[in-house]
Symmetry: C2
Subunit: 237 residues, 2 copies
DNA sequence: GGCTGCTATTTGTCTGAGTATTGGGGCGCG
DNA sequence: CGCGCCCCAATACTCAGACAAATAGCAGCC
């Protein structure tokens, strides 16, 4: 017993936060549920109370839990979770992700990315275009099967968000990235390739580089729709 | 000296986090800047090192800072801040908000809310419509000058996001709310009324209740555009 | 000039004590 | 019986001080 909580690769409080965070977002601890009190919990994880408390503070900062004297630390209703927090999103994907949540994520992408593409077409400068082209080149060279190609894919989407010149949209990078990476992961797991996504990416790139706002929006909509179809999620409506 | 950090209304670590958070997002501590070391900082604020550390953990969880041994705690580049975190957003509005950021916020609203209205029109049920109508009634009764009216305004926008049946969109509630409340605050401060926003809200409500997706999108676009115009922010392009 | 090992600084972790808050139960009173 | 008040115990909160671990920067060596 007193399983030694994984060999230390990072700070202890981060490790504990990860562990608790995953347990919460994957449903091991349901909303409304009360966590063990600090003393028991820290002893069970064989960490000091301070380390455990700092972990809980992090979860609280992300809206996952709330602590009060006498009552203890309670898991918040999902509604209060910061689902767009990169770390929370990461914890989600540690377990099985519900199809409903994936559809929500793609729907958000379908709302945000076409609009972002449109704005990017209006505001991009030479540096943006260079970033996009570099990413597209690397995608073509490596293919989407390899990690390099996937990284390039994410850089492409990120470059577009950057080109919008909108900080709040840029914050959604991690959210988009989660959906993007899930698509390729899914396709690899299931071996089916679907249509080659590279031409669609290039079409988006051309429209943005050419300043064609409407075209960029349309091309991006098409791209996301295609990705959604590949995941075999039934359309939302 | 050793000014006693406000009479305790909430937890000490929350108070410290608020104070540091505001100082960072309002630019008192620039990105890249190094914070005092824990001992000095905690002494200056007259709190224990543990309380200070828990506060820093919260800021780190929101992407504002990063701590490393020997180097210290450094303010992250804005790019890594979770700008959509409700608390971070709240801290922003403690100081002067840059026009650029406000435009970004409205632009995000312009991306999200029309799409949300469209989805809401497709998926709303009786309860959603009831919520919207109740909010509209209260807005009409109190007017947007009074706190009750403003609260109702936010409930209206929230009801729409709820009706989308999309958790990730719902997470943006606080972001939308920030932009909404800023509009009314601005209008009160400057005394100018602009067009009465109530009819536009009612138009959105009617379209959603009637299941008119395209109409809902159009009406919402109009509503947000109007709000943007009232704030006298120059249009983004 | 570059590598290597030392050292000082800073965060990280632990422990144990005392404080503040508050939900709930008991008790009195109407 | 019902209602309000007070007390109590459980819990998180705060504090203080010590030691451990990591690491940037430097000195010294090859």
């Amino acid at each position: 017993m007193t399983a030694p909580l994984a060999t230390r690769l990072k700070r202890l409080h981060d490790t504990v936060a990860d562990r608790l965070g995953v347990a919460i977002v994957t449903g091991v601890h349901q909303p409304g549920e009360l966590l063990e009190n600090e003393v028991q919990a820290s002893e069970r994880l064989s960490v000091s109370r301070s380390a455990y408390r700092e972990a809980v503070r992090m979860l609280a900062a992300k809206g996952l839990v709330e602590s009060r004297p006498k009552t203890g630390t309670r898991v918040n209703p999902r509604r209060r979770w910061n689902l767009l927090d990169p770390q929370v999103l990461g914890w989600m994907f540690e377990g099985e992700v519900s199809p409903q949540f994936l559809r929500d994520l793609f729907e958000l992408r379908l709302v945000v990315e076409p609009a972002a593409a449109e704005l990017a077409a209006q505001r991009r400068d030479a540096a943006d275009v260079a970033r996009m082209d570099a990413a597209l080149d690397e995608m073509a060279r490596h293919g989407l099967g390899k990690p390099e190609g996937q990284a390039a894919d994410q850089r492409f989407h990120d470059a577009i968000l950057q080109a919008t010149r909108n900080e709040t949209l840029l914050t959604l990078t991690s959210t988009i990235a989660a959906a993007v990476s899930w698509t390729t992961r899914y396709k690899q797991r299931n071996g089916q390739l679907g249509r080659d996504p590279l031409p669609d990416h290039q079409a988006v790139g051309r429209a943005i580089a050419g300043g064609d706002a409407a075209g960029a929006r349309a091309a991006m909509t098409e791209l996301v729709r295609l990705a959604l179809a590949d995941t075999e999620l039934s359309p939302a409506d």
